[in-house]
């Protein structure tokens, strides 16, 4: 039972479970822009468990700026017919654990900053959501100056930066556990409630 006036403690999370596939996905959920459109880039990879197996029942969401560094705050992510770039998308993983998005490459949201995708990961077996970032490779000076990256050991830092593929697409794997475990993030207000 909740009494909001007395209790502003956050509602706990719970796993997304195994049965979200008929509810959360929708047409063009992962196509922030249509694949093949000028400027479209693919951000893709796998979600892996601690044994190195692909997680076939994960859900990945991304939020990011447009190429100019502006973060869109416009509706239209569920019915994309309007053609607005909303800067938000959702992808299930397939049987091999692979997710993908077709989107525009984000620009830095502040001068000299490092461009990145904000990412949330959900899965059956994962009891609460996880946050991470996917940094865009290329601007070495900006990446070196990025506070989060600068505080990480070299291997963890490398793994938070997407790999540019020969065709221009971006590759980023999520490892929920194990030697290559992804660096997951907590934000100040998350620590109000643990």
């Amino acid at each position: 039972m909740t009494d909001l006036a007395a209790d502003l403690a956050p509602t706990p999370g719970q796993t997304i479970g195994p049965f979200f596939h008929y509810a959360l996905p929708y047409a063009h959920d992962r196509e922030l822009v249509p694949p093949g459109r000028a400027g479209a880039v693919r951000l893709h990879g796998h979600v892996y468990d601690g044994a190195g197996n692909g997680v076939p029942d994960a859900l990945v969401e991304i939020r990011h700026a447009d190429p100019s560094g502006a973060v869109p705050a416009v509706e239209g992510s569920i019915r994309r017919e309007g053609g607005a770039f909303t800067g938000w998308g959702r992808s299930t993983t397939d049987r091999t654990g692979r997710y993908w998005f077709s989107t525009l490459e984000p620009g830095p949201t502040r001068a000299g900053g490092a461009a990145c995708f904000a990412v949330t990961v959900f899965a059956r077996g994962l009891l609460n959501r996880l946050f991470t970032r996917v940094y865009v490779p290329g601007d070495d000076a900006a990446l070196a100056a990025e506070p989060l990256l600068a505080g990480l050991p070299a291997d963890e830092r490398t793994r938070l930066v997407a790999v540019r593929e020969p065709g221009g697409d971006l590759w980023f794997d999520v490892h929920l556990q194990g030697e290559r475990e992804t660096v997951f993030l907590s934000f100040p207000r998350h620590r109000d409630c643990t």
């Binding site: 909740t2 979200f20 596939h21 601690g50 990011h64 904000a118 077996g125 998350h190």
Partner: protein, 251 residues
């Protein structure tokens, strides 16, 4: 398969060793699927920036108001779903008590017999041709949401022998910034399965677990029509207006 007694013993041991956690313990082995799917390192503290400070925006072009009534979604077949008709309503507020306005709420659930419309659900209970069990709505200016649906049934799963999930509705929520994203489950009061369920019990603080349980509200029930449940949701605080607390506040 392992026994409920073994799972319950593991739950009790973990709750003794890690008491008082207001969010699920990710490394919670009584939920067997968590064993290979929890990070082993604590999350890295980061300051939100850029896109993390702005939640995605949803609007009336995204969500049809009819999507909030799960009892009329199989309209063309003309029939009504089987089960207890209920309304589930409440408010979405952030960690400072501010209503989250005009934001997307998504739900999905089993039917009255405990069966999902999902290929992977092998529970030998009937599919209801008049119930899909998924809904969406936008919160109003007070952060309010409201769904008309059918009370879901408990269902068995293969975590251990004779494992049953307490009846629940899955909720997906957004705040005003991206860091407030939440997916959770709402439960019904008095469910005898609570004590046995490793997903519910992964939150080791009893008061925090209770925040996932709706309350029956007779004022919401409608004469000869449906029963009412109230469930309010508190997201984590927004960072968009966040200022580090200082000593000597004037309150």
């Amino acid at each position: 398969m392992e026994s409920q007694e073994l799972i319950s013993k593991e739950i009790a041991d973990l709750q003794d060793s890690r008491p008082g956690l207001g969010q699920p313990l990710l490394d919670f082995a009584p939920y067997r699927s968590a064993v290979l799917r929890h990070p082993t390192k604590d999350p890295r503290p980061a300051d939100p920036e850029g896109a993390e400070l702005v939640a995605p925006v949803f609007g009336h072009s995204d969500v049809d108001p009819l999507e909030a009534d799960l009892t009329i979604q199989s309209g063309q077949s003309g029939g009504e779903p089987i089960g207890e008709r209920i309304v589930v309503t409440g408010r979405v507020v952030d960690g400072d008590g501010r209503p989250v306005r005009g934001q997307l709420v998504e739900i999905w659930q089993a039917n009255a017999a405990g069966r999902y419309v999902h290929q992977r659900d092998q529970h030998p209970a009937p599919i209801d041709p008049h119930f899909t069990g998924l809904g969406r709505c936008l919160t109003d200016d007070d952060g309010g949401y409201r769904f008309t649906t059918i009370k879901p049934g408990p269902y068995p799963w293969r975590n251990h022998r004779n494992a049953w999930r307490p009846a629940h509705i899955h909720f997906s929520l957004f705040g005003t910034d991206f860091t407030q994203r939440l997916i959770t489950q709402m439960y019904f009061p008095g469910d005898p399965l609570f004590a046995l369920d490793p997903i519910y019990q992964s939150i080791t603080d009893e008061a925090a677990r209770a925040r996932l349980v709706a309350s029956y509200d007779h004022h919401l029930s409608e004469h000869e029509w449906l029963l009412g449940y109230r469930w309010d949701i508190v997201l984590t605080g927004s960072h968009a207006t966040y200022v580090e607390p200082e000593d000597g506040d004037d309150d």
